[in-house]
Amino acid sequence: MKQVIRLRVNGQLHEIYTAAHKTLLEVLCEDLDLTGVKHGCELGECGACTVLVDGTPMLACLALPIELQGREITTVEGMARGTELHPLQQSFAELGAAQCGYCTSGMLLSAKALLDREPDPTREEIREALAGNLCRCTGYTKILDAVEKTVNSDQ
């Protein structure tokens, strides 16, 4: 059963005619071609599909777009302003926090939500904020370093 859904993603309003049972993950990747959103389980276990809904991290594989009409959804594609990278993106790239890069968009968005809420988190708070995002490549060290560096260079 298809129907029209109105979704605001990265500041742009989309009218999408799609199956009502599709998850936000599927709609973002398949209908809006925002393939920066990743998936590692489709069951809410890995954090790869993390997006922000009104600034709060949400797992796109568990969310239904139909319930998110009127909310503001941010994906990794919405982090940079034009060609100017978000400071987190800059430090992730510079410090080697993205190895295979598959967890990166989820990590960036979880970290962004943290910094928007708490501009000066401790390393422990960063660990806690990213605890729902699995990364199999980095051992998390360079990811924590990159978030910390962003915090410090902001001051």
């Binding site: 790869a48 890069g101 598959y102 967890c103």
Partner: protein
């Protein structure tokens, strides 16, 4: 050097942080249809009938295939061609592919699978090593694929005089160990997209670490000329060895594309990825080591039993690897290795980071810790005394070029405060400080310990997987009037940064900006063959090939520049976008102008380079496994706290030192080292593949435990830079070796903390509590040994008479 040795971002970082990188699952083509695979629900059964009629009739279904449509067997090793893209006559594990559907959308394909009826005749499942040795159980494969019944492979090798070695020993320790199987769990689930054109060209995009081997498997199973098959590996979302076999879903997608004339996409879900597996073999080990009273090894006898799962995969190599590298860290004058791999009705094991070597390394390093403790020796000093020397050979004919292990040990000992923290008895002094721990309600029940272990790994396998004398790695470099450089290579970047290394090398050699280099990789149509991202081969092999490809180009460019500047070519060098005369700074030419001159004089500018590792295999069958251009070395100190009431182990800190030769980019080498430590922590404490009656107990990310940010300790990384003559600029491997010392360092730290030996992984709270409760019971104590949890005995296995091999002249000798 301007680029090499600098902490630069990877060339693909920018795309990755904005979400622009395309992985196989992100690709789509017009008219694309979607495939799903029906998998066996039986661990071991004959297929009597597969009825696909109802599925075929479902509206939206484009094609349904079964084993009869793709019957040709394949497998990564030429000696193990035992897999079928879809099972023909029998299924061998729960998850084995049986049939496949292509349909207009994934939901329709899924519904069609439910309409397929498979009739099975159950066979007795073989689920463990003892099951496999029981000949009354049904054989999983026919004789052609096994050494004997359900024994896939048997190996026995003996180097030097083992009996004399044990006779000279003052102390002989025998023990058994078990290293549990676990899986890669790359975050990206495997995906593939196949397209077949009417003129007979097949293209496959796939998340694979080895496009070249997939290319070969497709040609074989689909009976197509390899010249008309193109395999492309887009960005890969992590591999760790889990994407190095050719897989059923790749063949299936291609076959369905050929049948339907439409592009076919297949995306595995996480459960299916668990069934693809090819992960760490569970290995049961028996170790007997003889030493003199100062700890000097006199003889080592090592037995392994690998539970291989349902198919061969890399298993023959894995079996040899469980015995190959014991000799490359410490001087061993006499060595015997007996290995066996069995087939069982479980997902096939294969190569995971460290391929077959973390298991014996765990056993060996724990064993050494026990010996040191028995003899009252400091585990660090003790190991250092017997570390192998540069430019020597081991007793089993492996060549050591450079070894930075002593320095690695020094680094972690110093940084961890190892000596200071230990009392005279070698145990960690400071009782836990409750103020430091936030995680436990019983701070007084915490005990802290510090453990040490070492390891070594290959910088690439010395032999290719299929026998041939061609290059292992090829590179083409093109330079043109734009000033741009393009590097073409078949290698596959799985996140480790291999694309970046090629760009760094070209930029370094030509003295230009990294951004002026484009790298084109992992496309069998466009790039020269590279065998793939496995065995930690890429930096050394593609790096050397790249340097060779660049050399003639540099000569041409310098030659024309020299004519223009009227100076000898030898006086010129490449410097920051210019060609500069060393004797006369004023004589200089812009890089772009120099390229234009060279293109004018010589025509189109390109260079090719090839790399083949040195031929070093010893004079015996099986000697090809373990040889490599160079070995990397690492040492690890781990500090843990153990809660004696809950058995909970927390790894508080890890110090790791890694000899990666020259670090071409220290940032990336550290990243590989930290990632290896992470994976080692997971394997030591929680990761395991467990089954009930052939059913995987935890095929999801939630149930299969892996470390999160909260489980990971702070990692302190030290790079020890030996300059190895075999590597580009002296580089060795970094991606796998640093995993090896981590699990035994943690096991040794647990012993230090609570005085019990956990001789198997994962080291779980249950095992700790069990060992602690044994403290009072006396069985081990009467033998003067610490309480332990580990395998009780080692089954009888029909190991053959060993092949006896004379050690090389420069090998360690018995006194």
């Amino acid at each position: 050097m301007n680029i090499i040795g600098k902490r630069l971002p990877k060339v693909d970082s920018w795309d990755k942080v904005v979400g622009a990188t395309k992985y196989a699952g992100d690709l789509s083509l017009p008219r694309m249809v979607h495939a799903r695979i029906l998998r066996s629900t039986m661990p071991h059964a004959r297929i009597l009938n597969v009825d696909v009629r109802a599925a075929q009739e479902l509206p939206g279904v484009c094609a349904v295939i079964t084993g009869r449509d793709v019957p040709i067997k394949y497998g990564i090793l030429p000696s193990s061609q035992d897999e079928e893209a879809l099972c023909v006559d029998k299924v061998r594990f729960v998850g084995d592919p049986v049939a496949a559907v292509a349909a207009i959308d994934p939901e329709t394909a899924e519904r069609a699978l439910e309409l397929i009826e498979v009739e099975y005749e159950t066979l007795t499942p073989v689920l463990s090593i003892p099951d496999a040795l029981d000949e009354t159980r049904d054989a999983i494969h026919d004789e052609a694929h096994a050494d004997h019944h359900n024994i896939h492979k048997l190996v026995a090798l003996e180097f030097g005089d083992l009996a004399a070695g044990f006779a000279q020993a003052d102390y002989v320790l025998e023990d058994t160990y078990f290293y549990q199987g676990n899986t890669h769990l790359a975050l990206e689930e495997h995906a593939a997209l196949a397209a077949y054109s009417p003129d007979g060209h097949l293209t496959l995009w796939s998340s694979t670490q080895t496009p070249h081997y997939v290319h070969r498997a497709l040609a074989k199973t689909l009976e197509l000329p390899p010249s008309r098959i193109r395999v492309i590996a887009p960005a890969i979302g992590g591999g760790f060895g889990g994407k190095t076999d050719p897989f059923a879903h790749e063949i299936v997608a291609c076959k369905l594309a050929m049948l339907t004339g439409r592009p076919v996409k297949i995306m595995l879900n996480r459960e299916e990825v668990f069934y693809c597996h090819r992960g760490r073999h569970p290995v049961l080990m028996w170790v007997k080591m003889g030493v003199r009273s100062d700890g000097e090894p006199t003889a080592l006898h090592f037995r392994t039993m690998l539970d291989g799962g349902a198919y061969g995969s890399y298993g023959v190599a894995s079996t040899y690897y469980t015995g190959a590298l014991q000799t490359v860290t410490y001087k061993i004058p006499a060595y015997k290795f007996e290995g066996m791999r069995v087939f069982t009705n479980k997902p096939p094991c294969g190569p995971k980071r460290g391929h077959g070597t973390p298991q014996p390394r765990f056993a060996l390093e724990v064993h050494l810790d026990k010996i040191a403790q028995h003899l009252g020796l400091d585990p660090a000093e003790y190991r250092k005394r017997f570390v192998v020397d540069d430019n020597t050979k081991t007793v089993n004919h492996l060549t050591i070029t450079t070894c930075g292990l002593r320095e690695c040990i020094d680094k972690v000992v110093e940084a961890s405060g190892y000596q200071k923290k230990k009392d005279e008895g070698g145990r960690m002094k400071d009782e836990i400080n409750p103020a430091h721990s936030s995680f436990t309600p019983h701070p007084s029940s915490l005990r802290r310990g510090l453990g040490l272990a070492c390891g070594a790994y290959l910088s690439g396998a010395g032999l290719p997987i299929y026998w041939n004398d061609m290059p292992h790695s090829g590179v083409i470099v093109k330079v043109d009037r734009s000033g741009g450089v393009a590097v073409f290579c078949g290698s596959t970047d799985i996140g480790q940064g291999s694309d970046s290394l090629l760009a760094y090398i070209a930029a370094e050699e030509f003295g230009i900006d990294v951004r002026d280099v484009r790298v084109v990789t992992a496309d069998t149509d466009l790039t020269p063959v590279d065998l793939g991202s496995y065995s930690s081969r890429v930096t050394v092999m593609t790096g050397n090939a790249c340097l060779e490809a660049i050399r003639p180009l540099k000569e041409k460019i310098l030659d024309t520049a020299a004519e223009k500047l009227m100076v000898p070519a030898e006086s010129l060098s490449f410097r920051k976008g210019e060609i500069v005369c060393e004797d006369d700074d004023a004589r200089r030419l812009k890089w772009n102008e120099a390229v234009v001159l060279a293109e004018t004089k010589y025509g189109t500018l390109s260079g090719t380079g090839s790399y083949k590792p040195p031929k070093r295999a010893g004079p015996y069958k099986g000697s090809g496994v373990g040889v490599t251009p160079s070995y990397s070395y690492s040492a690890c100190a781990a500090q843990v706290s153990v809660d004696i009431e809950t058995g909970q182990v927390k790894v508080e800190k890890v110090w790791i030192a890694h000899d990666a030769g020259r670090a071409l980019n220290p940032l990336l080498v550290e990243g590989q080292t930290e990632g290896s430590v992470y994976m080692g922590v997971g394997e030591a404490l929680m990761e395991e593949m467990t089954y009930r009656g052939g059913l995987h107990k935890t095929p999801s990310l939630l149930d299969y435990k892996s470390p999160t940010t909260l489980d990971m300790p702070e990692i302190h990384t030290f790079l020890v830079e030996t300059l190895d003559p075999e590597g580009p600029y002296g580089a060795k491997e970094a991606g796998q070796g640093p995993l090896l010392p981590v699990p035994p360092a943690i096991a040794n730290a647990v012993f230090d903390a609570v005085g019990v030996r956990i001789d198997e992984t994962p080291i779980t709270p249950e095992k700790i509590l069990k060992a602690l409760s044994d403290t009072s019971s006396s069985a081990e104590k009467t033998k003067g040994r610490a309480p332990r949890v580990g395998p009780k005995d080692f089954p009888q296995a029909p190991y053959p008479e060993p092949i006896r091999v004379e050690p090389p002249a420069s090998a360690p000798k018995l006194r």
